[in-house]
Symmetry: C2
């Protein structure tokens, strides 16, 4: 008898997040589920790791085929600690989310959801990050669950290439899937200046994304804005291989 | 009269780090220098950003052609806040480091030094991260300064392609430069389990890098281990473009 697939889940909104529960519900019929998630919100933590403080972890829930652990670290810490200390076998998939808010375009760089996904990928586990394009407290994850279930099932069945994971962003209402690339652009007008209690200047991070290619159809931003789930295959090798020959001559600088 | 080049500097070891001072010394002859660095160590912060707390910044030093600010945030916060609130013109280069310890191979994903470098790149500033392969308190940055000066000068003169920055790792003693790619591998044996003061389990992140391709000559790890400065052109577009056609058929899943 072959064991059911083991699905490892984490997120960056914390183990009590509604989106995490939606993701568990979505994939529970596909296998055994192990959750190791931060003990509170860790948005914008990227691939940050904790080395100057110790990590703590405790089990918050145990049911048939489902265990949930809360960890004091970042999303990547959760993956590292879970894979090193808590799993009894290599997971068949590592999935993250469902994030409260999109992680499209360059947000892939800041996202704890995607940081954790890339970490799973480093350990050669087929890994997928799921995000819903809705930050509101009343966000409805119902339709997003269907997407998470379908894509996770596909990936468990067929795998992913070594070194590549998926960044999946889901609009509130969708009419299909588009395989896309990361949109070019950057966040602008990023700070609101205000005063603290003693009148000193403080700066709050905010801003909005400026899309450099709003009309480009094969981008994740275009897909989401036009009612499609975007699926971006995302590499952990960040080398610009095409540029290597251009600067080969720099080897003569020293 | 044209203005001197403006060089923006940050790091992840904090504004008092020896490696930061070495980097200032190295490039001061090339232009005007503005430093916005964390007010303490922020190693392993990747591209993390701070949105739930306000940021504070204060000037710690002002000399002819040199200003230094300390900021309460992450390395990426320092770049964002500096570019948004502190610069009077667009920097001609954004350089980071010199980091205490290498940021080769997959460490590019965890590194605050490289997070800040990629952030500069997002803002279309030619950006370079410098790291010395020496964690010791007594590390000698003398030879690394020469590398930082030569490469920064080259980049100010010739620029870099939009969307590509450089990850430069410097061994203690070097005999030349090698343009390289990011080495494949992952960190393993990552945790030491110990007890806190009340006897509860805690986990400390540690471990070592397992190189999956130790004999591959065109990698950054090979270069450093063989006495060369490694220069890896690093892209902020993480899309696996080659894999897009393979999963195009997934558009029919919904």
């Amino acid at each position: 008898m072959s064991a059911k697939p083991l699905i490892f889940i984490t997120n960056d909104d914390g183990y009590q997040a509604k989106g995490l529960r939606a993701l568990i519900d979505a994939v529970k019929p596909l296998g055994e589920v192990l959750v190791v998630a931060p003990d509170g919100p860790r948005s914008g933590m990227s691939s940050a790791i904790t080395s100057l403080q110790p990590l703590r972890v405790h089990r918050t829930e145990e049911n048939e085929g489902l265990q949930i652990y809360a960890c004091t670290g970042t999303p990547v810490d959760c993956v590292k600690l879970g894979l090193s200390e808590l799993v009894r076998r290599k997971p068949d998939a590592l999935i993250t989310g469902i994030n409260h808010g999109a992680n499209s375009a360059v947000s892939v760089l800041y996202s704890g959801t995607m940081g954790a996904t890339m970490e799973g990928c480093l350990f050669k586990i087929p890994s997928i990050g799921f995000s819903l394009d809705d930050h509101s407290l009343t966000a409805d994850f119902g339709d997003a669950k269907k997407v998470a279930s379908i894509i996770t099932k596909e990936v468990i069945g067929k795998g992913l290439p070594s070194g590549t994971c998926l960044n999946v962003n889901i609009p509130k209402k969708y009419k299909g899937i588009r395989v896309a690339r990361q949109t070019k652009g950057q966040w602008v007008k990023e700070f609101v200046k205000s005063k603290d209690g003693s009148g000193k200047d403080v700066f709050w991070l905010t801003g909005h994304f400026r899309n450099e290619e709003p009309d480009a159809e094969l981008t994740d931003e275009w897909a989401i804005r036009n009612g499609y789930v975007s699926v971006v295959p995302t590499k952990i090798d960040m080398t610009d291989h095409d540029y290597i020959p251009e600067i080969k001559k720099w080897e003569n600088l020293i």
